[in-house]
């Protein structure tokens, strides 16, 4: 099943798509925000897609708060790598 884009509340679906990034990042001016929300209230396709888009952004941002662990395949610790590079740069490796 597919949906045809349409104009609702004075905004075409593709205009909503254009504004989606600023909508998700809460960066829309109030007047545009009101029009986008009026469109979303009546457009299932944009609501579904916008929810999916916001979900992707939230998934990416969740990684920001996740603890940073070294990748399991790392053979050399960052500290050892730093020491090796430092000593190599000073010409006293080995």
């Amino acid at each position: 099943m597919t949906t045809q884009p349409k104009t609702i509340a004075g905004l075409h679906c593709f205009d909503v798509l254009e504004h989606l990034d600023d909508y998700v990042d809460a960066a829309l001016p109030d007047d545009v925000l009101a029009r986008v929300e009026a469109h979303l209230a009546q457009c299932d396709a944009c609501t579904a897609f916008g929810g999916r888009y916001a979900g992707l952004v939230a998934t990416l941002h969740a990684q920001l708060s996740a603890p940073r662990v070294p990748p399991p395949e790392a053979e050399t610790s960052p500290g050892d790598l730093a020491r090796a590079l430092f000593r190599k740069s000073r010409g006293d490796e080995g």
Partner: protein
């Protein structure tokens, strides 16, 4: 905790422990920034990380604090990635019509998958064109502001916003095409 700026000043003065601390603090971020722009099997991934760190050693004295140390570090890393990838061959984007891109990303599709799995998302980012992967990593994974990302990328803030929007849509499209080729 000693600031990055203080560490860089001591690195410039030739102090090994400052460099070790700086690398331990930022290595995971640096590695992820590079990894998200390389494909499995790219042999130069580790070279780009190490080249970046060597440049930090060599250029610490040039850090003036006009941007954050992270912005400075990722700017160097980006240059190294581009160098290894041979920049001229890679980042000419032919902008896709937004409506067509939205359709590829799933607008109007009857079925939309319920949730994203982070591991798959990260893996898919590494398959995107660099012009998209780098802005996604800087803004969405590293949390840099639009202004900071613009500094790293050497473009205007408006270009960062535009690229990020398209990058997110491209990522959605790529994830969708993995499931429904």
């Amino acid at each position: 905790m000693e600031t990055d700026e203080a560490l860089l000043a001591r690195i410039a003065g030739g102090e090994e422990d400052a460099f070790v601390t700086f690398v331990e603090r930022h290595h995971a971020r640096l590695e992820r920034f590079v990894a998200c722009q390389t494909r499995p099997g790219d042999s130069w991934r580790e070279d780009a990380v190490q080249d970046t760190l060597v440049t930090v050693l060599e250029r610490a004295h040039t850090f003036e604090g006009r941007s954050s140390a992270v912005t400075w570090l990722l700017g160097i890393a980006r240059f190294k990635v581009l160098h290894h990838r041979q920049r001229r061959a890679r980042s000419r984007e032919v902008p896709e019509d937004l409506a067509a891109l939205g359709a590829r990303a799933g607008w109007g599709a009857g079925h939309i998958e319920a949730a994203y799995e982070l591991g798959r998302v990260l893996e898919t980012i590494s398959t995107l064109p660099p012009i998209h992967s780098e802005v996604l990593v800087l803004r969405d994974l590293e949390g840099l502001s639009t202004r900071e990302a613009a500094e790293v990328l050497g473009v205007q803030e408006a270009a960062v916003k535009s690229r990020l929007h398209r990058a997110r849509l491209h990522l959605m499209a790529a994830l969708r095409e993995e499931v429904e080729p």
